[in-house]
Structure formats: structure tokens, C-alpha cells
Symmetry: C2
Subunit: 331 residues, 2 copies
């Protein structure tokens, strides 16, 4: 294992400390427990947005803290859910009195720990709504997960719900919008290589040099199948087809097309995947009205990518376009 | 070799086509020869900025085309200079009558091809100034290069000169500012792994599993030395020390600290490097007034990072902060 780290035990804390220094105009980093908060704290009259989960998926979630997106992010250890003790102070810090929406990716540990934290925070007088993101069409009932996994669609949920909160929508409305984004977004990924979790020290799974795994999870959970390495266009088709089938999106509809890198894939390759996904959608009469390409929900240095499609309506488009000022998304 | 590509012969064209579709609000892509132009063409009364070089370093340079930065980018084949035939139309397209600044990274092929292209464009009536970026302190007279190599400092040159052009400075002024940025910026990198050029099909060099290369070039050119894999803090010191020594920056000065990923390194590790670089600068009484962390000048999927330090003055800071709207930098 060669990594630009010091001690595996401290890698998350050190990385978040560096993140905080580099983005001191956007976030405040709190330690013990480790939290990333929107600079200046909860905004009076605004619903707070909190997300979190295991580290190793950067820039998710800390990179999405800031104006127009999250109020707090809770980074666990690498690929490990944060504890309720860590989540409660985030929910409390994000609450200005208007309540908090917790955005949770569907992994059993995250869901349980957020549930416990929400109960505890509500005892402290914080009203919390929860949306569980489960956009991955690859498999149901995976390693770590009952039901579908939450993956890159989380970015769309955080951006659009964040914009709704920023414009002043109340908690019930922001929660309903977040749930509606989740109902209209689907993703699927591919891995070319595994990644190495620092405190484990070896690859998270074995993938032969001549195979790729279609439907991979963001922690290396098994996907649908392994196939001999194929062209980018062929692989892209294997991701786009199940997404479109599941989403039942069709001719005349507008979508956001998001090609996400797993961390170790060159940006140039993500654009090759984007190109083919765009062609496949356009061929079916679907309009790619918005796009996002880059490393947003990663698996450390895994080589691979995922495709996400969000069905857009006028409200989603307006909220997607609304200003955002975070480390990882800014417009 | 496993990559998300189709045919190695077409990977650059396909990637740039996808890039153009994903960023159709920012750029126009022209084929034959392949060019990325600021949408809407040259801006009347504004000096044009053109850069280019071999592909494989994305988002450099196409990702920096747009308001406040480049007017045109010329992508060659992977790690291969674009030809004069490809550069001339970019210089012509970027000229609104106010002249063009060509920003060239110091590699012999790039310098020669840009020189030829400038002569040809000037025959066509375009006034061109050239700045050659050579910020890499690692080695002199490397593979492909007489003198020092141009690496991640190029981003600072393009951003700051781009802002000067955008505010209406004339060609001589923009060229002088670009040269002044180059004179005040230094970089040095480290590789943990090699990368694989698609049309070569194997790693660009051999690096044992227990060694890293200090002072690596962005095409895998040899650096200063190979050392046994060390901690992020130790490696960061080996990059920061030669930079500070060469730049002669000291107590009381403001700098931009830029930690750049080589493409295959997790963002979380870049922040670990940033953290230590920030500590080392702060310990010496240098103020980190601006920061940038991410994959901006990459070497395909190489694992590694570089540190760049730019000495800031009031003008540089103002131009760095000026609005920019490109695919890769936006504020």
C-alpha cells in the first residue's frame, strides 16, 4: 500500500483539518466530535441540512457544505458510519429553530446511527426529517444494505434540497422535495480496479487484470456481474440501459446527466463515458438539459465511474441552477 | 491496460467531444483541427489567451477555457505537443484585433511548435506574445525539456493573466503580468505510481511497490530521486523545502498554496498534503492567503501530487479573486 497519508488512524481527522484550512471562507471544522459546519453557523429562518457517512468518498459530504447546500457534514472513519454521538451535535448545530433535514445514504449502519441520532436530537428539541437516498439500480439487498444503495444521486438530493432550504422553504417542503429527487434519480457504476482502505492495507476485493465489475458499490460491494474488459461505449450502455428502464424516462423528457468518477479514473475518460451516455439518451429522444462530470462521490483511488440520471422538471431545474458556494460545487 | 476508452487513436477527440457537450454553455468545440474555444468567440477589445499541449493533463487546458481565463485551448495527442497547423487556427480564432498571448509550458516540442505557429499567425496579421511557463524546481534539462519544466504553476499563469485580459489590459500588460506570475511561482511533485498512455499500453516507467519518486514530471520524466515510501508529512517537506528555497519567499509574505493531484490520488490525501504544506509555510511566518486543492494538472491516472507556491502581491490577489467561469474553475 502506497498512500499520501501519515497514520491510518488519523487520516480522516488530518484530511478534514486540511480541508478546513483550505476552505476557511466556506466552512468551520469542529473536532471532538469531528464535524464540518457551514461558516457562521445555522442561518436564522432556514431549514438546516445535514448529511454524513463513512469517509473515503470525498468530496462527499464535506465538499458540499456551504451556501445553497449542506449546513453540516459528519465524516465517519473510512467506509464506516459516523456514530450517533457524532451525528447529534451536527443536527443541533444545523438547527436555527426551523428544523433539520438529514440526508442519509441507504446503508444499514448509516440508517441505524442516524435514526438513533434523530431520536436523541429530538429529545433536545430539534425537529428532524430524514430522507434516505437509494438511487443505485444495480442490486437490492447488498453487502451492508437492505434495499438499494445510496450513491452519486446523493449529490442531486443535497443540491436541490439545499437550494429549496436556501430560498426559505419550510421543513416539510424541503423534505418532500428531497424525497421527490430521490424518486426521480437513478445511478449505476463500474469498477476497473479495487481500492485500498488505509486501516486494512490491502485491496477491498480482487478484480482480475482483464475484467471489470458492472454495478459496483461505492465500498466495493459486489455488483451485477463481472465481464471481460470492454470498450467505454459498451460499458456505458450497460450502465445507462438499466437506469433508463428503472426510471421509466422517455422521449420528450429533460434530464440531468451526471458522470461521476470513482477517484482514480482520469477526467478525460469520464468525458468519453459522458459522450456515449449523452448519445444513448439523445437517441431515445431524451434531452440532456443539465450535466455534471467529475469526481464527486468517490471510493478512494478506485478506477471506475458511475452514471446518474435525474428526471428534471421546472422546479428541479431552477433549484439545480440556483447559486451554490461550496468547496466542490460552485456557481 | 484497463481504461474507460474505446480506440486509443480516438480517445482525445472523443473525450473533447464529450467535454464540449457537457459544457456547451461555456465552450465551442471545433474539429479538424481539434480546438476548444470560448463560446461566442473572441471578445472585441480583449486580448486573447491561448494555451495548449499534449492531452492527458485534464482539466488542463480545455477546462480553463471561458470567461476570465482562456479563449482557446489546443489539445494534442496524449503527452504529445499539438502541431503548428493545429495551433495557428487557435491563435487566429482568439484574436479580436487586440492581439493574443500564448501560454506555453516549457517542453521542447511545445515551444518549437508554438514558435512556428506564432510566426505563421503573425504572417496572417495576428500579433502574438508568448510566455513560457517553467515553474518546476525539481530538475533542469529533463527528458523533453531544455531548462525547467512547466507544470501546475500554469494554472496560476492562466487564471491571473486571464483576469488581466478580461479587465481590458493591453497585450504588453497581460504578457508582462503572465511573465511576472511565472517568475513568482514554483512547483514540485511526487509520484507513487506511473500512468499508462493509451497508445503505448503499458506503464510509462517502473516504480517499485515500496518506492516513490520525488520531483516527477507530468509525463513521468525522472525526478530528483527515488526514496522508500514515506509518510505524507515527510514527502510534503521534500516538496515544500526546495520550492521555498528557490522562490526565496519569507516571513511576512502572502502566498497562494496549491496542492494538485496527478489524477489517481484521492482528494482526501491531497488535503493531508495541503495540511502539512500549510503548517510548514505558517511555521516560517508565511501567510497562506489563498488556496487551491484538487486535480488540475494531471498525468492520466498517476497517483501522486504536486505542491505549488505563488508569491502574492495586491495585484495578483485581486486578479486571482476576479470572477472566472470555466468547466474546471468557477467563482
Amino acid at each position: 500500500m502506497k498512500k499520501l497519508i501519515n497514520d491510518p488512524e488519523h487520516v480522516v481527522a488530518e484530511s478534514v483539518e486540511g480541508f478546513g484550512w483550505a476552505n476557511a471562507d466556506i466552512v468551520d471544522v469542529r473536532t471532538d466530535p469531528l464535524l464540518v459546519l457551514r461558516r457562521g453557523g445555522a442561518v436564522h429562518g432556514k431549514v438546516g441540512l445535514v448529511s454524513g457517512g463513512g469517509a473515503g468518498h470525498e468530496p462527499l459530504h464535506a465538499g458540499f457544505v456551504g451556501v445553497g447546500m449542506l449546513d453540516a457534514a459528519v465524516p465517519g472513519a473510512v467506509f464506516t458510519s459516523p456514530s450517533p454521538d457524532q451525528i447529534v451535535p451536527a443536527l443541533v448545530a444545523a438547527d436555527s429553530g426551523s428544523g433539520v433535514l438529514a440526508i442519509v445514504k441507504n446503508y444499514t449502519g448509516d440508517v441505524l446511527n442516524f435514526e438513533t441520532a434523530v431520536e436523541l436530537a429530538e429529545e433536545d428539541g430539534v425537529t428532524v426529517a430524514v430522507v434516505v437516498v437509494d438511487d443505485d439500480v444495480a442490486v437490492k439487498d447488498s453487502l451492508y444494505t437492505a434495499g438499494r444503495r445510496g450513491v452519486a444521486g446523493t449529490v442531486a438530493v443535497e443540491k436541490i434540497a439545499g437550494a429549496a432550504a436556501e430560498r426559505g422553504d419550510d421543513l416539510a417542503t424541503v423534505a418532500a422535495i428531497a424525497a421527490r429527487v430521490n424518486a426521480n434519480v437513478r445511478s449505476m457504476g463500474v469498477a476497473l480496479t479495487a481500492c485500498t482502505v488505509p486501516h486494512v492495507g490491502g485491496p477491498s476485493f480482487d478484480l482480475p487484470e482483464d475484467e471489470v465489475e458492472i454495478g459496483i458499490g461505492i465500498h466495493g460491494e459486489p455488483g451485477r456481474r463481472r465481464i471481460p474488459a470492454a470498450s467505454a461505449d459498451e460499458i456505458t450502455g450497460m450502465l445507462v440501459d438499466p437506469i433508463l428502464e428503472d426510471l421509466e424516462v422517455g422521449r420528450g423528457e429533460d434530464v440531468l446527466l451526471f458522470v461521476n468518477g470513482m477517484g482514480g479514473t482520469p477526467l478525460s475518460e469520464l468525458y468519453v463515458v459522458y459522450r456515449q451516455a449523452h448519445r444513448l439518451l439523445t437517441e431515445r429522444g431524451i434531452t440532456v438539459a443539465r450535466s455534471l462530470v467529475g469526481n464527486y462521490v468517490t471510493s478512494l483511488e478506485m478506477q471506475g465511474a458511475s452514471v446518474t440520471v435525474l428526471r428534471l422538471d421546472e422546479e428541479f431545474t431552477e433549484l439545480w441552477d440556483a447559486p451554490v458556494h461550496t468547496a466542490a460545487l460552485r456557481w
